[in-house]
């Protein structure tokens, strides 16, 4: 399965994601970019570990990030308490030929998505209804009327 789409048969750690009742996996893998040049990629897999999409990871515009376009790998996605942490790594080869690494992380606070305490707290019993004497008399009459005609 990994030899399709130019991927090399090399496995990296997987992170399971359940999204809208479907299971997906995130992983990093190498791919021959132009049939010759290997490049690291973050890949979204289906539940059977078949590559579904290469994720380009569009970083925000910033002085340190403008040159970071590709060569991403080692994605992790996990829930930490009420936070989802997504991280991935970028490999850069300097002009001197040295390899250096950057890690990009973002944290999604689930507090805003999880049910609020007031929504899941036990509900108070309904307050007793205060009815006037006239309303009570009318209810008795209506109930008696219904009872007679049902017979």
């Amino acid at each position: 399965m990994y030899t399709t789409d130019g991927f090399t048969a090399k496995f990296n750690p997987f992170h399971k994601i359940t999204y809208q009742d479907e299971i997906f996996y995130l992983t990093g893998t190498d791919r021959l970019q132009n049939g010759v040049q290997p490049e690291k990629n973050i890949v979204l897999l289906d539940a059977d570990m078949t590559p579904m999409s290469v994720l380009p990871m569009d970083l925000p515009t910033h002085a340190q990030m403008d040159d970071i376009i590709s060569n991403h790998t080692s994605p992790t996605m996990k829930r930490i308490g009420e936070t989802v942490a997504l991280s991935f790594q970028h490999r850069n080869t300097t002009e001197a030929g040295d390899e250096e690494y950057f890690q990009f992380l973002y944290f999604v606070d689930l507090q805003e998505f999880l049910p609020k305490a007031r929504d899941i707290a036990p509900q108070q019993p309904p307050e007793p209804q205060h009815k006037s004497i006239l309303t009570r008399v009318m209810n008795v009459v209506v109930n008696a009327f219904n009872w007679l005609f049902r017979r």
Binding site: A9, L55, S87, F102
Partner: protein, 450 residues
């Protein structure tokens, strides 16, 4: 009568009458396909793109032959609407642009189909067939002598033009695929005895070659330049399953890949990690913008030992992504180990499990390992309370790169259910993926998944 043949593929075909090619009807811009067959003469024909239907007029006693045609088939996807395409000269201008960019005669280029998606144009560049002396224009797309050489020459010319930005088609190009169709001379060009229609064989030299994918050059041997950044940042599906699933997968891919958008709503940062690689973050604290991580350190030029480390990254500048983080509490956890993954069973006071791979002294092979730290403080002190070296299975030469799938924690590794994916090398040297399950009875069972 008008005969319509639906083909499963879009291979280039031609109608031959008395051994000579009958040109297709002219393209009709008003219906955006080749002009209808008007029953003017036997052999009048057209190709209906997308549906892959060859349509031709056949009269009594007239013998026709359907033959594959030597051609380079090209699919170009551009960021244009169909209306914009036709409002900007349509197929005539398109063919002129291709011809001009490649330096070939426009008569050798046939647009096969134009359809939405954003805009897809399929076109063929045909080369002369030595058996066919009816070249309609007398022009050739190549000066090479044999069809195979001509096809190779045109393919190389097109590949180079697209891969170096030399092809100006009027709109940003997103995807380009080339397929070579070579007409293999067949000996069974027999005709039937009535309708006189026959077919000869063709062979494609390969599956379609991707020249540009998602705005980036992917042609073998050419630098992977990105010509179309908008297309590059837009994830595409590599395959289709069904409409609902595809929509979910694409939505998820776009959500995950669009970090720029995520960082507008959520804290994010770039950490220059130097030689620290494969960070697995855990225990982040929003109020102080900090987090812990385990990682590989494997720098032979450093005096620090290689192995699995942990550290705390602090003082993340929430408003300034890209600011370098300072580090605290860098600790070597396991010497000469690698590929660490953490599973937390609760908060900082609960047990933490570390999975990694390392060479086991008993057999000098790389094994999966599990360690338990009673809490974060014990982990910082590199004081593990439990260590399990998982035995090799499936005749593996080594097992590495563990990643947790599920953990049902019962207080210790020995009695907990732990499911792990990992890579291993089998006895034949093949890399395989496996799933291992550690049972509550301490058992370790594995399944090869590919």
């Amino acid at each position: 009568m008008i005969v319509r043949i639906a083909y499963p593929g879009a291979e280039s075909r031609q109608i031959l009458k008395d051994g000579k090619r009958v040109d297709m009807n002219q393209w009709d811009e008003s219906i955006r396909m080749y002009g209808e067959v008007t029953r003017s003469f036997c052999g009048e024909n057209r190709y209906i793109g997308v549906k892959n239907i060859l349509e031709f007029y056949l009269t009594q006693g007239c013998k026709l032959q359907i033959a594959p045609r030597n051609a380079i088939q090209t699919m170009v996807r551009m960021e244009w609407s169909v209306d914009e395409f036709f409002n900007n000269g349509g197929t005539t201008t398109f063919v002129d642009r291709v011809a001009g960019s490649l330096g070939i005669h426009a008569s050798t280029i046939k647009v096969v189909s134009v359809y939405e998606g954003s805009l897809v144009v399929n076109y063929d560049i045909a080369v002369d067939d030595p058996a066919d002396d009816s070249s309609s224009s007398g022009e050739s797309a190549s000066t090479a002598s044999t069809p195979a050489e001509q096809l190779a020459e045109i393919k190389a010319k097109q590949t180079a033009a697209f891969s170096t930005g030399g092809m100006d088609l009027g709109a940003p190009i997103t995807d380009v695929e080339l397929t070579v169709i070579e007409n293999v001379e067949s000996t069974d060009n027999s005709t039937d005895n009535s309708s006189s229609s026959s077919d000869s064989s063709s062979s494609e030299d390969s599956a379609p070659s991707k020249i540009i994918s998602g705005g980036q050059v992917t042609a073998p041997g050419f630098p992977p330049v990105i010509f179309n950044m908008d297309a590059y940042w837009h994830p595409q599906l590599l395959r289709s399953k069904n409409t609902d699933y595809d929509a979910k997968a694409l939505r998820l891919a776009q959500t995950l890949a669009n970090v720029t958008l995520a960082c507008q709503a959520h804290p994010c940062t770039l950490l220059k990690t130097g030689k620290d690689t494969d960070l697995d973050p855990f225990f982040n604290k929003n109020n102080e913008w900090s987090f812990w991580s385990v990682f590989n350190f494997n720098d032979p030029s450093s005096s620090d030992p290689q192995g699995v480390y942990m550290k705390k990254s602090v003082n993340v500048d929430n408003n300034n992504p890209g600011t370098a983080l300072s580090e605290q509490s860098r600790v070597l956890l396991v010497y000469a180990a690698q590929n660490p993954k953490v599973w937390t069973t609760g908060d900082e006071n609960a047990a933490i499990i570390l999975a990694y791979d390392a060479v086991d002294a008993s057999d000098s092979k790389v094994h999966l390992n599990l360690r338990k730290y009673n809490n974060l403080d014990r982990m910082k002190a590199n004081d593990s309370s439990e260590h399990v070296i998982l035995p090799l299975t499936n005749s593996a030469a080594y097992e590495s790169k563990p990643s947790f799938q599920e953990v049902t924690w019962h207080g210790s590794i020995a009695n907990s259910e732990i499911s792990i994916f990992y890579e291993f090398q089998d006895g034949s040297g093949n890399l395989k993926l496996a799933q291992g399950k550690h049972g509550t009875d301490g058992s370790w069972t594995t399944t090869v998944t590919n």
